[in-house]
């Protein structure tokens, strides 16, 4: 089945009079809300409230009073996309500008998509239900590559040509961001540009460029605007680069095809997080979402150096938000939102230099108010009794997850996750003796050099956890859940050269592990086992390390009905395998070539022209160290190991301690009449 572009497209304005015109807009028809046409469709779809908007914290600005208009998308369902920090931060930063407006759009479920096609309703924003095509910039944030098919749905539903090359001045600039934008090559045909790294300042710079270009009367149309963005050296415009291939299918080179764009595009780094205390007015959904809490990033970046972890590699250096700023953000965020859970987010929250004082200060400030604290990412070697007690002080214990990632000491050396089995047992027992009845342990399967034996050690570890927990608490009422994800090698990590394991091997290992866990029936009963099978990981691997030729596979999958690939009930492995088999042989490559093939040192990788700051020679050395089972320390506590980021990006580590403490809050009793919601 093919999905033709059935969305009626309003007549495109001609090139001299496009989105840039500052006078009376030729696209008045587009600016009208689609709500009257959308509303009658809503009783026919599941969870219609997700399309209604009107959340606390949502901003609707006068269309005509704005010069630069952004549509921001998280390409997954509303319930997943709304809590996304990145989108919320950029939404607020942009809407604080007087002449700029930003609205949000999310992936619509297939039931509504079908009705929208049948009734000619275009992709819309939830804030004012304006059609996405009417905006100047359509920014899409990718946390995972599995959102690519949803991008195509949104572009097509918006009435925008799928291919960037076919777009006119009447179409928005489609801009990719988020972690997956560090290799946007698989979607290079579909996006106009990509931004690497932190978005706070990048969106301001882009807004300024669009504003200036429009004020000048949009000289040179779309091409000129993209060129101005490319000249910043931090916005990647794929159309300005040509990719040449070798006869064997590998990339020969990626070079600019015009003289005035940079050879390499660099990531953005926002320094001094205290100067960017967002979100200040978090969105509070009316519909149910995956996270309902006030989330504050307590630091960005991580130098623990886990070799599989793309986030840790591409967000360096570590920049802490100070304890006092965190305290102030929590106070204002809770007052504004009414949330009763605070999430202290980062890549490894217990590593903040003042995490102890932060947790005890917050626990004290909110004692007796039913506000609970959670640390979503906690290293086993940084968790301790004090922290456990602060997290459980008001009686409600949020879930605890620890991630040893690898089952054996050997494999943990390979991935540089330096936690010992003793650390893990000690930590989990601490949690059990502090009242937690259940902890979750997270591992990966399919890691480089992994054997069956490495994975089977997970069973020993889980058995020992239960044994030690029973001994320490004298109770049999304790449980642990072993949760296993498939390893996917990611760009800009030491494992970017690694081969992936085949799905059959992964599935077999998981089967063996399950048997090993249940080999002892008494212990096995206390252990839950959750896993993902190997097939989705292989496709994620294709997309994460793919080049521009993979775009044709994405398009074929989408045409064959591929949607919501991050959802197991929607993902079809068969559809991806068949599309790859149809499309890739013409280029002399195949699915295995992208996934299970190990790359050598000199191969040009599709993202080599995109600069995350990491020195490629250092990454290669770290890959060799991984194979030699040699560990790498953290530069926060040991001398610099020359990963390259700080000198390349002119940045530095920003950590405490500041020595400051959180002061008790003066309790505010009595009714409040919040002004923000009554506007």
């Amino acid at each position: 089945m093919s999905v033709p572009s059935t969305t009626p497209r309003p007549a495109a304005a001609n090139s001299g009079d496009g989105p840039g015109s500052v006078g009376p807009s030729p696209r008045r028809d587009l600016e009208l809300s689609v709500w009257p046409r959308l509303e009658p469709l809503l009783p026919q779809v599941t969870k219609p409230i997700q399309y209604v908007g009107g959340e606390l914290g949502a901003v609707v600005k006068d269309w005509d009073a704005a010069t630069v208009r952004w549509a921001l998308m998280y390409p997954d369902a509303y319930e997943v996309g709304l809590p996304n920090q990145g989108v919320q931060i950029l939404y607020e930063v942009l809407n604080e500008l007087p002449d700029t407006l930003a609205e949000r759009t999310y992936a619509v479920w297939p039931d509504l998509e079908k009705l929208m096609r049948a009734h000619g309703v275009p992709q819309f924003t939830v804030d004012a239900h304006r059609p996405v095509r009417a905006f100047d910039v359509f920014g899409v944030s990718f946390s995972t590559e599995l959102g690519y098919t949803n991008l195509l749905t949104a572009i097509d539903l918006a009435g925008i040509p799928l291919l960037a090359a076919d777009r006119t001045d009447a179409d928005p600039v489609i801009l990719a961001g988020g972690h997956a934008a560090f290799n946007p090559e698989p979607i290079a045909d579909f996006v106009d540009a990509a931004v690497l790294g932190d978005g706070e300042e990048a969106v301001l710079e882009i807004t300024a460029i669009v504003r200036e270009w429009k004020a000048e009367g949009s000289p040179g149309g779309r091409d000129e605007l993209l060129l101005r963005l490319a000249r910043t050296e931090s916005v990647y415009v794929p159309r300005f680069y040509d990719v040449d291939y070798l006869p064997d299918g590998r990339i020969q080179r990626v070079v600019p095809n015009r003289p005035d764009v940079p050879f390499r595009v660099h990531k953005r780094t926002t320094m001094d997080l205290d100067a960017w205390p967002y979100p200040k007015k978090p969105l509070v959904p009316l519909a149910e979402t995956v996270h309902e809490r006030y989330a504050v990033e307590i630091f960005r970046g991580c130098t623990r150096g886990c070799r599989f972890c793309q986030a840790g590699m591409i967000t360096r250096p570590v920049r802490e938000r100070s304890i006092t700023t965190v305290g102030q953000m929590v106070q204002q965020g809770l007052e504004f939102s009414g949330f009763h859970e605070v999430g202290l987010l980062s890549l490894s929250s217990a590593d903040h230099s003042e995490i102890g004082d932060m947790c005890s200060g917050l626990a004290q400030q909110y004692e007796g108010t039913n506000v609970s604290l959670s640390l979503p990412s906690t290293r086993v070697d940084a968790f301790n009794i004090d922290l456990a007690q602060e997290l459980s002080r008001n009686g409600r214990r949020t879930g605890l997850t620890f991630a040893p990632e690898g089952g054996s000491e050997r494999i943990r050396k390979v991935i540089n996750k330096m936690v010992s089995k003793d650390d893990l047992i000690r930590t989990v027992v601490t949690a059990y003796t502090n009242g937690w009845r259940q902890v979750k342990l997270y591992f990966m399967c399919g890691l480089p050099t992994e054997t069956d034996a490495d994975v089977l050690e997970i069973a020993d570890m889980a058995h020992e956890v239960i044994r030690a927990g029973r001994a320490a608490t004298g109770s049999r009422d304790i449980r642990c859940t072993v949760s296993i994800g498939g390893f996917v090698p990611k760009p800009h990590t030491p494992f970017q050269w690694a081969s992936m394991e085949r799905p059959e091997v992964i599935d077999h290992r998981l089967k063996l592990l399950k048997q090993a866990i249940n080999a002892d029936r008494s212990l096995g009963r206390a252990i839950g086992f959750r896993y993902h099978d190997g097939e989705p990981s292989l496709i994620e691997g294709l997309l994460s390390r793919g080049d521009r030729r993979v775009g044709a596979v994405i398009r074929r999958v989408w045409e064959n009905g591929g949607r919501f690939d991050g959802w197991s009930e929607h993902f079809s492995y068969q559809r991806w395998v068949e599309a790859a088999a149809e499309v890739l042989p013409a280029f002399g490559v195949d699915l295995d070539w992208y996934t299970t093939r190990e790359r050598d040192e000199l191969e040009v990788l599709p993202w080599d022209h995109l600069d995350s700051g990491l020195d490629k020679d250092w990454l290669w050395q770290d890959w060799q160290d991984a194979l030699g089972e040699y560990e790498q320390d953290d530069c926060r506590w040991t001398p610099c190991f020359d990963c390259g980021v700080c000198p390349a990006m002119d940045t530095e580590i920003q950590i405490g301690p500041t020595g400051k403490k959180l002061l008790p809050l003066t309790p505010v009793n009595g009714l409040k009449f919040p002004a923000a919601a009554s506007q």
Partner: protein, 215 residues
């Protein structure tokens, strides 16, 4: 509640829940001008100030109109019937007239709906106390030449509940009435039924002689 600083009471237990109970909430996709809920408080508050604080804290379009101190008795017990208005764009009033006449004439109209227990068949007729075609009014969102039939319904609270969409299913069953676009349903009132079939505000019983803080 938290934004408005309401001193709400919590249930006891491992995961304490705020004491809020909704009486007969309108179904998804239906507008309402008359929803009721009961909240438990830790300490007395002035109902007028409580109303104002909650109204200020809620999103635009969610308005808190009144608050009274509960004088005992369950709110849910006082919800005996609902008054609904159903606008059916592109339906000729004469066609609706015929369907309503057929519905009224029937002793029983069996309809089907998916419930949490699976597909159920039940009577949509007996609970309907009043079903009238209202005189047409100008609806600003519709072009003037498009007809729009309007149905007014008073339905008793029964188990399983008979909702406006069940009555619409009933009109399909008895008269093949198939609205071309989704009807717009609004709950106008709900409350206690008088002997004459009028609906009385369920908070009336609390209003006389209410003294603040008594529960």
């Amino acid at each position: 509640m938290r934004r408005a600083g309401v001193p709400i009471a919590f249930s006891q237990g491992f995961t304490p829940h705020p004491k809020i109970s909704y009486a007969s909430a309108a179904p998804t996709g239906v507008a309402s001008e008359a929803e009721y809920l009961e909240i438990g408080l830790r300490e007395p508050v002035d109902p007028a100030r409580l109303r104002g604080a909650l109204d200020a804290a809620l999103s635009p379009g969610l308005d808190v109109l009144d608050a009274v101190v509960a004088q005992g008795g369950s709110l849910a017990d006082r919800i005996e019937a609902s008054h609904w208005r159903i606008e059916m764009p592109q339906v000729e009033p004469a066609a609706l007239d015929r369907a309503v006449a057929a519905f009224t004439a029937a002793d029983e109209v069996l309809v089907e709906r998916m419930t949490k227990q699976g597909r159920r068949t039940f009577d949509a007729r007996a609970a309907v106390m009043r079903i009238d075609v209202a005189p047409p009014v100008a609806t600003p969102s519709e072009a003037p030449d498009v007809p729009c039939a309007i149905l007014e319904l008073v339905v008793r609270q029964v188990i399983p509940s008979v909702r406006p969409d069940d009555v619409l299913s009933g009109l399909r069953v008895v008269a093949d009435l198939e609205p071309p676009v989704s009807p717009r349903v609004t709950r106008l009132a709900q409350g206690t039924l008088t002997a004459q079939g009028a609906i009385v505000d369920p908070l009336d019983a609390d209003r006389d002689g209410a003294s603040i803080g008594e529960r």
